[in-house]
């Protein structure tokens, strides 16, 4: 499973992506990442699974791409 980080989250993770396997759902992934990168706990971000925003906890499957995205600021 590929985890992508964007915007100011990369300042926290120091890398734009990482590979993680065997995580059941987005809530578990959040916990895991916020433990690994503690400043994520107070960062504002949305989660997208395979390019679709998810609000609720969502089951993750092998091969999924999960993106952590801070508020957008294009334009």
């Amino acid at each position: 499973m590929e985890i992508l980080f964007f915007g100011n989250l990369i300042d926290i993770t120091r890398q734009p992506k990482e590979l993680i396997e065997g995580v059941a759902d987005t809530a578990t992934l959040k916990q895991l990442l916020e433990k690994k990168y503690q400043p994520l706990q107070t960062a504002k971000y949305f989660i997208a699974v395979n390019g679709k925003m998810v609000q609720e906890n969502t089951i993750l499957n092998q091969g999924d791409t999960v993106a952590l995205m801070p508020p957008f600021s294009g334009g």
Partner: protein, 147 residues
């Protein structure tokens, strides 16, 4: 992914005024167009704590941004009677004073193009996964926020 083709909207660096002129000129053959509404986003040299903005560096989650843009485009074509719609957004570094967003909506009558253009600009700002990092003249950086 839909089967309909996904258009690229991203260009590397600033958008040249000449590109805008060329886009306009190319629409002279479409004789049912009566109105063009254009929005341009220009990088401001805002004063921040510790320095002045020299440039903005844009990054995106490209695959998702293009799919979102595709969906926004389809929605607007359903909602308004439009002839065409073009969107270009910069990636990478755009210096202050230069254009980073070019939105171009055409229609037979003005109300459709004006309303759709406004809606499109809001959608681009708040629905496309794009991030701007302001680079100050002291080399510090500040993440841009949209309001």
């Amino acid at each position: 992914m839909k089967t309909k083709s996904i258009k690229n909207i991203f260009v590397e660096g600033a958008i040249a005024p000449q590109k805008i002129a060329n886009s306009i000129a190319q629409h002279a053959t479409q004789k049912n167009i009566g109105a063009h509404s254009i929005f341009l986003g220009q990088v401001r040299a805002d004063e921040k704590e510790g320095g002045r903005v020299q440039a903005i560096e844009y990054t995106t989650y490209k695959e998702m941004a293009l799919q979102q843009m595709h969906d926004i485009r389809e929605e607007l074509f359903k909602k308004y009677e439009l002839t065409c719609m073009h969107v270009y957004h910069s990636l990478g570094v755009v210096p202050a004073g230069k254009i980073s967003l070019f939105v171009f909506v055409s229609s037979t009558h003005r109300k459709a193009s004006i309303a759709a253009c406004e809606e499109l600009v809001e959608a681009i700002k708040f629905q496309l996964p794009i991030w701007g990092k302001e680079i100050l003249n002291n080399q510090n950086t500040v993440w841009k926020e949209n309001h």
